[in-house]
């Protein structure tokens, strides 16, 4: 299936084009953008990103791991220290807190890699260095017959250029 690549200057236009294209049923599209713009991302995929779940899972795992480690290790070989109980909770809370954040951070990174599809070796179709400069690239896969229509549509939304990438 042929792939059309539209080059835009303003994020607003890209967002409109994406909503329009999706409205017309062309859902296999992707936007390359040099900088983060919420309106584009929401247009492409309104659902909140799944990274949240990773962080939550990481945090909970951290709490459990923190307390489990400290209490289990203290009770495996209980040694009287400073007249304090073997497994005294207040000091262990500090460690549980730190481990929570540690696991939270690590799982968030994993979330980014998982959700963001990183690390990916091959670059996506239509990606070019200009999209890491200051221009936006809208890549949409259209059946043979709709190429012209989409091409027109892109140009209508002030796409600076539209080019066809070998499918």
């Amino acid at each position: 299936m042929p792939t059309l690549v539209g080059v835009f200057d303003r994020p607003g236009d890209v967002a409109e084009t994406v909503t329009r294209l999706k409205g017309r049923g062309f859902t296999k599209l992707e936007v390359y953008s040099p900088a983060p713009f919420e309106e584009i991302d929401d247009a492409v995929d309104p659902k909140p990103s799944k990274v949240r779940i990773f962080t939550l899972v990481g945090g909970l795992l951290g709490v459990v791991a923190g307390y489990a480690m400290t209490i289990w290790m203290s009770l495996d070989w209980p040694i009287v220290i400073g007249g304090k109980p073997f497994a005294s909770i207040p000091p262990y809370t500090v460690i549980a807190f730190e481990v929570t954040i540690l696991f939270g951070g690590i799982f968030t990174l994993l979330g980014l890699l998982a959700v963001g599809g990183l690390p990916s070796i091959k670059l996506g179709a239509g990606y070019s260095a200009r999209f890491s400069a200051e221009e936006f690239g809208l890549v949409v896969e259209v059946p043979e017959r709709d190429v012209a229509e989409v091409d027109g549509l892109l140009r209508a939304h002030s796409a600076k250029e539209v080019s066809l990438v070998a499918s």
Binding site: A35, S49, M73, Y92, I95, F97, G105, A133, R145, A148
Partner: protein
């Protein structure tokens, strides 16, 4: 719609023209793409010398024993722990700027947060060096890790030093993640514009980032969550570092104000260090238009705020000592100001509590050389603050029979100088390897501006 004629389709397929690159890309990449200048090489040489001296002294100290440092009974902690807390304190500015200010949506932080985060990581690495330098038997220091071992022996989780181990290693890891996640888009930019070993390096590090919307959405969410996690982390790490002292019953240490006092001190010295480093970098690499005086003014406001907090803490410590009616506390604090270490106490009070109040005047807040001088004084003052807390606290304790005195020895000064060299080397290498300003964040503002109202180019960001 009939398909366009094949030649027009073929016409569409043409090599992307070499468009004029984004000015932001060009400016920032020029910093690390240029061949290192003579100044850079000279500085790196100097620092390598300092590092070599420090490392050699450290190895000799491991062999000969901690006796070569100035420790005496009862002062068991000295300049090494002071410098450890100093470096951990500096490390907190980076996370604060990138995390807390991100949560506050303070857009002005975009230009400065990358270098601040870099400084965080290098400061934490330097700080961790001091754990190895300060400890008596480094060849057995692995005992402090709760690793499963054949002896079925674990560690004492009630000890503040162990909280330190967890806190600082977590802090190092989360800062690294935070720094790296922020760097990925810029690495992709660099990957697309470099060749040879740099392309391989940046390509590998960028993990194939293409800036697709899915990736940006995940990236935004990640940065948001990391900021959400890093903010409490910053506050907790320096609280844990302060509990190394607050958990002890040494008069002058055993106070509940220590956690906020240390956190404010950390942010205070962290901001000062960021300014101290970024002012020359801005001057050398001509980044005035990105790192504007507006940024520096905002940071000076922050310095003013934290100076007030730290000044308050000094005052409240003396009040509580008097108010508590415990003679040991009163004597400890009285002798802190008028005892054998009065010089360092007064340096602390003046440099941290008085000098920063010059920032009330806008004229001074925007006069960069003044900012540089005041920030340097602040950092000196903060080093002495930890020096005062630790040394005077230990030297005048409960038992007057064993009051003691401490003088830093050449070995300690050499190793501390080595630590500054270590920090500078890492920062210099960072300057020549990675973008010192977050290109994608700055570009976000630039594109946003251009999209909405041509022209107010200079002022906006």
């Amino acid at each position: 719609m009939t398909p366009p004629p094949p030649e027009s389709v073929a016409a569409m397929i043409r090599p992307t023209p070499a468009l004029p690159d984004s000015p932001t890309n060009r400016d920032v990449m020029r910093v690390f793409m240029e061949r290192p200048g003579l100044g850079w090489l000279l500085l790196i040489g100097l620092c390598l010398g300092g590092l070599a001296g420090g490392a050699a002294t450290w190895i000799y100290q491991i062999y000969a024993g901690l006796g070569i440092a100035g420790y005496s009974h009862p002062i068991f902690w000295g300049a090494y722990i002071v410098t450890f807390v100093f470096w951990v304190g500096i490390a907190h500015a980076g996370t604060l700027i990138s995390a807390i200010l991100f949560l506050f949506r303070a857009k002005w932080r975009n230009a400065i947060n990358r270098s601040a985060e870099a400084m965080t990581i290098f400061a934490v690495f330097t700080a961790q060096l001091f754990l190895g330098i300060h400890v008596g038997r480094i060849w057995k220091a692995y005992f402090i890790l709760p690793y499963p071992n054949q002896r079925a022996l674990w560690v004492n989780f009630k000890s503040p030093l162990l909280w330190d181990t967890f806190a600082i290693s977590t802090y190092t890891l989360v800062s690294l993640i935070f720094f790296y996640v922020g760097l990925i888009p810029d690495l992709a930019i660099a990957r697309d514009r470099t060749t040879g070993w740099r392309k391989a390096l940046y390509g590998a590090l960028a993990l194939g980032w293409q800036g697709t919307s899915r990736q940006w959405k995940a990236h935004n969410r990640t940065v948001l969550h990391l900021s959400g996690l890093a903010t409490p982390l910053v506050l907790s790490v320096h609280s844990v570092v302060s509990w190394d002292f607050a958990m002890a019953l040494v008069p002058g240490w055993h106070a509940t104000i220590f956690a906020p006092y240390f956190v404010a001190g950390a942010i205070f010295s962290g901001f000062a260090m960021v300014l101290t480093v970024m002012i020359p970098v801005r001057r050398i690499f001509g980044l005035e238009h990105i790192l504007t005086d507006y940024h520096f003014e905002n940071m000076c406001r922050f310095l003013l705020l934290t100076s007030c907090i730290v000044g308050y803490a000094y005052g409240i410590e003396y009040f509580i000592a008097w108010y508590s009616g415990v003679e040991a506390e009163k004597t400890s604090f009285y002798l802190r100001a008028f005892g054998p270490y009065w010089i360092s106490t007064w340096i602390m009070l003046i440099f941290n509590g008085v000098v920063p109040h010059l920032f009330w005047f806008k004229k001074l807040r925007t006069h960069v050389p003044t900012i540089f001088v005041i920030c340097t004084l602040i950092n000196i003052g903060m080093w002495f603050e930890r020096y005062v807390i630790i040394i005077t606290g230990l030297s005048r304790e409960f038992n007057p029979a064993v009051w003691g005195h401490y003088t830093p020895q050449p070995a300690e000064l050499m190793i501390i100088a080595g630590s500054f060299s270590f920090f500078s080397i890492l920062f210099l290498i960072f300057l020549k390897l990675f973008p010192v300003i977050p290109i994608s964040e700055v570009k976000e503002l630039v594109i946003h501006e251009r999209a909405h109202g041509h022209g107010q180019h200079a002022e906006a960001h």
